[in-house]
Symmetry: C2
Subunit: 257 residues, 2 copies
């Protein structure tokens, strides 16, 4: 198994980091070898998965990995199944570096950096920032598939269309293997009419692209950011259950190719 | 009265656009002349306030205003009190334009563009994207004050610190008049222990910077994105009430200088 997935959507706060973190964790628990890659200079994935301060990763993160084209040197080991290429806020200088200082193709630097180490992992999971800039381009060019997040609110629904166009463009120009693996509905508050309406509109428009698993809004998922992902209490299990179902769907879709 | 406010925080989905839109609307209802400026290439503020498609603003938006240093030509009139400088997704090319093609100071182009028309308005309200890039820098350099949003969740709380550092840096280097006007707690779900804990931690750390008004999570506020801002039903009034209180606090803080 060797599959790289970018978790993206340019609308802010749609559940990218939370989903990338939890799915990485669950795949590792199932025995897969996973490399999570934090590609957002806010370092949320790094904080979520390591529960460490970003200062610990200053000058030891994905930006240095790309500057030196040496990912191996900067991989942080969380456990024997789950590794991380961390981010810190210096990653904000990436666009200047790749457009001004770097000589190669600015779209494929992440892919070229990851290439030598990809075979060590079953899954590589890239967390993207909330915009369609050069970081998202790099993430998509380095991926076999992408999952877009849909928080059922109007701006996120609109954002899906532009995200899909970006995927199609890169597929035709740079990365013909890139698959739009699916759309994950998350932070669903199904007591509200609006959430249901947007969900059904997305279902009508995107049909099979939508994962049948829907992640509901649950306080426990927000609490995991502070405690780390736990599977001890009944609350923990209730919160992780839909993500466990999602992982089954995801593995099926990845293998189906 | 003449005061420019940037609504910012680099954490996605924290309520920047919603707050900027509703406060602009309410100030205009009170009789102030307001120019809302959409500085996010996703055009959410534009869609929210005009209820029009972004296609209507293609080639007629804030990017052209800055390229030609002519804001007047591109102002869209919503009503006689509320004007808008719209955005569309071509604004995503702003960083390339201002770093590569533009000869002047890349940090102050928005300020120089707005300068000639500022006196026509009592309030100018700038909606910023979720990152600390050149758009946020331009917004802050063009502002008399900034309001940061705090959604009571861990990553947004952490983001406040970096936002504050950015404000201090620009204040010392470029815009000595820039005031950190306040922090608005929004999307508060006060039934949850975590939200309360984060809110109290922010109160302890930031004290008077926090507005005493707290905006709770309400479905009606999300529904306004699709219907436009309404003040007809009891639900509408309940949703707008805290923002009406916020406007009072805001005016007091602006005048207090
Ligand atoms: N299903 C859920 N239920 C409750 N809270 C959630 C859920 N998913 C995510 N959250 C919370 O919502 C907030 C936004 O989620 P997250 O940071 O994962 O989104 P994001 O898309 O990565 O945001 P950004 O665009 O800023 O990178 C976080 O506080 C997170 O803990
Ligand atoms: N008080 C609230 N209650 C309920 N929903 C809210 C509230 N404030 C904002 N929302 C909804 O939450 C979502 C995010 O809000 P908004 O788009 O204003 O945040 P933002 O900070 O501008 O996001 P971005 O970082 O993507 O620009 C939107 O769907 C909005 O309608
Ligand atoms: Mg994130
Ligand atoms: Mg916004």
């Amino acid at each position: 198994m060797n599959f790289t997935i970018s978790w993206g959507i340019q609308k802010g706060g749609s559940g990218k980091t939370t989903s990338c973190a939890i799915v990485s964790h669950l795949l590792a628990e199932k025995g897969y070898r996973v490399l999570a890659i934090d590609f957002d200079s806010q370092g949320n994935l790094t904080q979520f998965l390591t529960q460490m301060s970003l200062f610990e990763f200053e000058d030891k993160n994905v930006l240095q990995a790309m500057e030196e084209k040496n990912a191996d040197k900067y991989i942080h080991i969380i456990n024997d199944r789950l590794h991380l290429l961390p981010a810190d806020d210096y990653l904000a200088t990436f666009s200047k570096f790749v457009y001004v200082d770097y000589d190669g193709n600015p779209q494929t630097l992440l892919q070229e950096t990851l290439e030598p180490i990809k075979s060590r992992y079953d899954f590589l999971m890239i967390d993207l920032p909330p915009n369609l800039g050069i970081e998202t381009i790099n993430g998509l060019c380095a991926s076999d598939g992408t999952i877009a997040l849909l928080q059922p609110e109007p701006f996120c629904y609109d954002a899906l269309q532009r995200y899909e166009e970006t995927v199609d463009l890169l597929k035709s120009q740079v990365n013909p293997n890139l698959r739009f693996l699916g759309i994950l509905t998350t932070m669903m508050d199904s007591r509200t009419v609006l959430d249901e309406a947007i969900y059904h509109r997305a279902k009508a428009r995107y049909e099979d692209l939508l994962f049948s698993t829907v992640i509901k809004r649950r306080v426990r998922l927000k609490e995991f950011t502070l405690s780390g992902i736990k599977n001890e209490s009944l609350k923990d299990q209730a919160a992780l259950r839909p993500y466990i179902d999602l992982v089954e769907e995801l593995i099926y879709r990845v293998k189906k190719e």
